[in-house]
Amino acid sequence: MATLANPIIVNETAPLPVAAARRVAVGWWGMWGCIVSEAALFAYLLFSYFYIASQTTNPWPEGGLPKLTLPTVNTVILLTSSVAAWWAERGVRAGRQRDLQWGLAGALVLGSAFAGIQLLEWHNKPFSHSSDVYGSLYFTITGFHMAHVAVGLVGLVMLLAGALRGYFDRERHSVISIGILYWHFVDAVWIAVYASLYLSAYLLL
């Protein structure tokens, strides 16, 4: 490095971490901004659902009360996926590469299982997005969620690829922390979707 003639070195301060090292970077804040906006999107989706439910004269829900077994099992699977992701992040923060890799792989497998079962659930529905406004809402809301799951799964694949190459350690885990934060959001917002589309149908009879 070039020596600097002019700047007079006055004093030195305490060491500061550089960039994303040892802490979650500005990207963590950015992800929170993204999550707030995405959460607002789901709030407006669910507002639309309840608004139409309160105003419509159509039979509600279309095709009778939704069956709960499959979606409830699927909800548990998705939440378990979040637990695996949490395990992965906890591992990398402690420098345990194996926990990181297995945790990410587990989150990926469980997340994919959720997506597969959700496709089956879609297939089982007696209505479509174009049969009635209920179907339009059901498939649009779950479709938006599925799109978020898809983005999350691609993200998990990328994190796993980085983890298998040994990119991350206890000093440099911000990418993992930020990616998993998004995955937790995808799982948390599903609880709101599940409660609205499935459980509330029973409560609001």
Partner: protein, 650 residues
Amino acid sequence: MIPRPASVELERRPRVAQASFDSPLAERLEAIWKTGPGLHGQLATVDHKTIGKRYLVTAFLFLVVGGIEALIMRIQLAGPDANFLTPQQYNELFTMHGVTMIFLYALPVLSGFSNFLWPLLLGARDMAFPRLNALSYWIFLFSGLFIYSSFVLGHAPDAGWFNYVPYTGREFNPGVNIDVYAIGMVFLGISTTVGAINFIVTLFRMRAPGMSIDRIPIMMWGTLTSSAGNILAVPAVSLAFFMLWLDRRHGTHFFEVANGGRPLLWQHLFWMFGHPWVYAIVLPAMGIVSDALPVFCRRPLVGYTPVALATVATMIIGFGVWVHHMFSTGLPGLSLSFFSAASMVIVIPSAVSVFAWIATIYTGRPVFKTAFLYFAAFVFLFVVGGVSGFMTAAVPLDWQLTDTYFVVGHLHYVLLGINVFPVVGGIYFWFPKFTGRLLDERLGKWSFWTMFVGFNAGFFPMHIAGLLGMPRRIYTYPAGLGWETVNLVTSIGSFVFAIGVLIFIINVVVSLRHGTQAGNNPWGASSLEWLTPSPPPSFNFVVIPHIKSRYPLWEDAAPEKSERSVLDQGFVLDHGRETLGSSALDAHPDTILRMPGDSLGPLLLAIAITALCAGLVLNLAWLSITACVAAAVTIIEWLWPERFLAQRRD
């Protein structure tokens, strides 16, 4: 190439040094930060100052286009029974005029100011997410052109900027125009959202040491509040337009009564977004006045804390007033009462700010420069627009005035008064910082008085036309209803206003070449951007200043005992593109932030998203899918962990 250190450090004691803008350190920083040469450099740059200027120029071009659309309409309306335009042409023009001014001018122009100024006001070297910043500009540009492409397709949106169903359903409006508008708005929403996140994170993470949250300029409160509002409000309109597109093209029934949907759902979603948006496009402009007006009154703003709190309060209440756009839709009385009351309550924070500005002028020693005139005029126009807004907040009066020219007059007083006047005043104020030269004062005075007289002559009679019963959005009117005079005066006023804008543009063009050299701080202003040369170097600050007061450049006038900011001595941070990260509230240094270099990623991603939107509108599945894959690849490349950013091990 940006010189980068060979080994990657995890922590460092940052050197503190004293240095000026002509030191060897400044040269070294210039080599690190400057944008690369040639076309590649221009397309790949992430310099917030370049992006800010691009935002300003692009938004102004949209303003000119929207203004020409308005003038064509005013020719048609100047007299009764005119045939200058067909009804269809008129519908397309008033729709595109609204879309252009509200979405493609009003917020982007404020983003231009904020982009250029944000790091300079904070004592930082760039935004928190430089590439995201470039992306938000490219998407703004491309989505604007995308919406305008409907003219090329021969059929522009024609159902008004708020695009009510069922007019916009496929049954009544089968063309591609509404689809272009719908997808274009979802597209533009990406730009607004990522831009807003960038402002918020930058503000909370990148302030110079000592610049605690109660020392930031009011403009930052305005943009912070507006950004927070956008993050929460934009999804509503994106969703509404997306649902409309699904209804039109994919057989869903959100807004169709026949299959259980509800047209009012559109109005709710649109105005849940629309009203916070109104505050998003005025609060940063009010912030411009709160910061720049005191400079010309030679004193600090009266009531910093009340004005900052009023800014935040306005936005919070602004989320609870959307139904006042829907008073005539047959909603229950209780709902009308609540939203009417909330709409009146919002007067209180607005009045707090107005009295603060008046008190600043009254207790100061005003210097009557052009910028001051624009800001003072803003206060007057804001009061006029505020009073007519307060009037329509009363439900019975609203029932009489809704969909008349009274509302058109009101919204133009509010949007031009609170956005255009502060923006033009802001350009007079910051032009020297943008370009190094001052705008001409003589032309400036001419531009101001022409705009001010033209504006009031053009828009005040609209209130009268409305009280006389003239509905909005009619392409012509019969003689003998008593509307001829007010319409003729309005048309003349609008052309006078346009001449004022033209004089302003001439002033900009002439002063770019021949303006007086400005120096660092031509107005004797108080905030950090005036510490830097005009225009500022690529790295903004040689050393990161240390802030001890709200007005770091006015401390000579402060009491002897008060602490002084340290402006010429601070952290060097020169191991590549670096700036300081600090804690959210008290701005205590806590990180050395590293910035990514120039990148074509933002441009490529914006192109991919443009292709995706085109595919969605034109129903080309192959194009949409290819574009999605291209976008995904670009994003993965963008986010892939980098050693320099300490995101991965060697």
